[in-house]
Amino acid sequence: MTFAEHAALPPVSADAPPRSRGLVGRASGTVLDFARESSAVADVELRKIFRDPTELLTRAVQPTLWLLVFGQVFTRTRAIPTGKLSYLEFMAPGVLAQSVLFSAIFYGIAIIWERDLGIVHKMLVSPASRGALVFGKAISAGLRALSQAVIIILLSLVLGVRLRLDPVSLIGVAIVVVLGAALFSTFSFVIACLVKTRERFMGIGQVLTMPLFFASNAIYPIAMMPEWLRVVARVNPLTYLVNALRELMVQGGQSTVGLPTDFLVLTLACLVMVILAARLYPGIVR
């Protein structure tokens, strides 16, 4: 008995045209669909955070230490030239940027976790555009980072940092924080799609954070750096995040390249990462 000759026909009959389904038949890919799909993803992510906010609190520990210990000590030494600003005022936006980076950079572990479970399969098998799925995650990571901004702003006030507290500046800070967290979490997403396992991901995450942090103007000005490091700092998106925050957060703080450039760099970098992640996302299940 051979079954080999059993009709060379495609799996799952081609002769049964799908019944018309006005409900789900609309073409996806329009802006509205993109917004619906990404907000669906962002919505569930945010629900999960509000359900278990312990993570938000533990994330506050590290920046608090930086400001209280490192900031206080270095303010006394006056070893770092920070112009009109006190060292603490100089570094407060840097600590916020750092805290955004450090928590966003491990975001990819959640993607690997979801892959191991099968949640990623469920997402990818839906007709939602991959870009929308990635963007929804990016937005939720961005909004999540706002809690860090709140904590660091309050702490800075307590420590006597002269902050800009007008609504426009505060909204500006919020936008920049969301943008920065979206950027680095999507960067992390990309890495997760490339390395695919938790072990390798953790290793790479550790390797990346410190260089990104130290090769930026977060805790010392670019002017202090040796020439080669300045070059690295200029291509490091974290520098632009710090820049924008420094100007928007602190009275007398100034971006070294101007706010519009900072915004442009952050937005473009974020866009590139989302596109890249959308391309790589399906690969994580292979």
Binding site: P18, R19, L23, V24, V44, G118, H121, V125
Partner: protein, 262 residues
């Protein structure tokens, strides 16, 4: 047609030719590592074939994967419902990702919950669900948009007999009520016999047998059981690493799933 997937030199699925009748329940059997999951992954467009192609629900998996995705549902072997969300939230996510119109979402969701016997647990977190409830919720998510074809990878692995029968019953009814074609993989001969109108037995990436359970049994012997059929066609000689229990990674994944659902 000639569906093939290679991983390096390993040919996971080797020129598979297969046709599944619309509105039937089709079971793909085979030992671990025979290529069942890989086949499904290609049919649901999550894995590009190395060679060949297929039509699913009337659409080409290579040329129009987005159309395929719109008309299929899929329940993976591992747990795909999000434990940190409630049952209703999981369903709402699916409804929005599949673009069900806002006006119909609530109705569809409560209908699906009721159909799967989960109405009372709609607002409980899924991590509090039993294994059988999680599976039924996943079925609810996969059927919400009334797909033409429902793909299930080991739908009852790790479930107790009661939960298993409940899933079978729901699948039969999905087919009857909505005319859905169900395509599932299984190791479970009882499941294959109880549920499937047609069976395909895979061995080393090839289709070793195809037919109704009764017909297959007759081919093997007068009083053959489906276990005999399986052994006959997927014939394992002990010590053959490929046929005896699959590769390590498969085993690990299967056991992990069983633990999670149990």
């Amino acid at each position: 047609m000639g569906l093939t997937r290679r991983y390096g030199t390993l040919v996971a699925v080797d020129h598979l030719d297969l046709r599944v009748e619309s509105g039937s329940i089709f079971g793909l059997l085979g030992p671990n590592g025979a290529g069942k999951s890989t086949t499904i992954m290609m049919l649901i467009t999550l894995l590009p074939p190395s060679e060949g192609g297929a039509m699913v629900a009337g659409y080409d998996i290579i040329r129009s994967p987005a159309s395929v995705r719109r008309h299929i549902g899929y329940v993976p072997q591992s747990v795909s419902a999000d434990g940190a969300l409630t049952g209703a939230e999981n369903l709402r996510l699916s409804a929005r990702l599949y673009g069900l119109p806002r006006s119909e979402r609530a109705e569809r969701i409560s209908e699906a919950l009721e159909f799967m016997g989960l109405s009372e647990h709609a607002d409980a977190l899924v991590k509090k669900y039993s294994g059988g409830m999680v599976r039924r919720l996943e079925l609810a998510q996969a059927m919400l948009h009334r797909p033409a074809v429902l793909f299930l990878d080991e739908p009852t692995i790790g479930l107790d007999p009661i939960a298993r029968h409940a899933v079978w019953e729901r699948l039969r009814e999905l087919r009857q009520r909505f005319g859905m074609t169900v395509f599932l993989t299984t190791h479970d001969m009882e499941e294959a016999e109880a549920l499937c109108g047609t069976l395909g037995i895979m061995h080393s990436g090839k289709l070793a047998a195809l037919g109704a359970p009764e017909a297959l049994k007759k081919q093997v012997g007068a009083d053959a059981t489906l276990d005999d059929v399986f052994i006959h066609f997927a014939g394992a000689s002990l010590g053959d690493a490929d046929s005896e229990g699959g590769r390590y990674s498969d085993v690990r994944r299967t056991r992990r799933t069983a633990t999670r659902l149990g």
